[in-house]
Amino acid sequence: MSVTAHLDAGLVEAARRIADEVAAPNAIDVDKEARFPAEAVAALREERLLSALVPVELGGAGASLETVARICFELGRRCGASGMVFAMHQIQVACMVDHRGDGAPWFDDYLREVVAEQRLIASITSEVGTGGDMGKSVAAASEVGTDGYQSFEKQAPTVSYGPHADAFLTTVRRAPDAEPGDQVAVLSRRDQMEMEPQGTWDPLGMRGTCSPGFIATARFTPDQVLPAPFSTISAETMTPVSHILWSQVWLGIATDAFDRARAFVKAAAKRKPGEPLPAAIRLSELMSELSLLRAEVGLALREYCDLHAGDRAKLSEMATILRFNNLKIAASEQAPKVCQEALGVTGIVGYKNDTPFSVGRHLRDAMSARLMVANERIHATDASLLLIAKEV
């Protein structure tokens, strides 16, 4: 993946148009029906944005992470679920681009297919029985059979857009006798898998991500296993890129909540020109809160891009892991705070679901942030790392 500071204006403009013209008009229905944002994803496919991060030599746009981050922000402003589906897909692509290794023809070919067919990739990282720790797996890759195939069966409590993905990046133990933390990541196509749905999907927010549980089984060849250990994939790419792209979506949601509060205050000021407007003061306070979120999210993106382009080994250092863990915690707490305080500006008009100033969906969507890898778990990790890391 290219993480130069280059922002591809053409791709961002295409995404902004999709956000405004496709994601926004469907956002209420996607939320109400807890349905997949099919229109937005179809439009992203049409603009070939699903392969934005794929290197040029494999036919992709070779876009920078900053470009993709901006697209996540733009989509998040109009439909949180569309933004999150796009963000999560790009995370799997980034993992493959960064860690396919030299001369791994299977992954090179698959990335070409992502370009040509605009494949949508989900992940199966969480698992029943691990206590929410992505660094451990119960499920294991089997030994290679006489037919040349391996297999796994994994019980996943949630698989975001599982019913709609073309392929899945799944963490499993390297072998049947491997320790829980000795993991690899396997990319398997839907036609190599059986997905048995578990439970229903009727959550508070991010309803369009359609993330019910599944028992996933797959048959795959050994070249479908990313060559790098998952611990490396996680430290250098999956964890920091997840935290960066998720927080861009949350920033988008919070920014739109702020914009709606601002539109509300402007409308009130027009109705009563010259009269004191308490809501305007609260709006100004809200801007400070939004600025804190924007600063944290923007700074972390730049830091990651610098490290990725320069001293990539530093991404594995505990002090760096702490930094990107903190991004997730801070952004996931600040985004719902902004949405809640936007509600404080708009009052009942924002609380109602059918006004131009409604922020209920924003608040509900933003409240999912602290659960996407529970903040309590990240705090527990950070508490341990803080005992030994020096400069943080």
Partner: protein, 80 residues
Amino acid sequence: MKEQIRQVIREHGHLSVDPGTLADDADLYQAGMTSHASVNVMIALEDTFDIEFLDSMLKRSVFESVDSIAQALTEVGVEA
């Protein structure tokens, strides 16, 4: 030095096997050391050898074997 390293791993690494049975280059994470246990190993190593690891050393790969730990200790001035 390697015997002292093994003793620290024995006390704090929570491996599924005794570190005495592992080769110097055996992967401690594959032997069951968790990330959390590895932090306790790092703290105990700093205490045992009266040194401080640099941030650039505080990463998974540096603590993955007795050999790699010994090399890190040498870098911060512990004599073999």
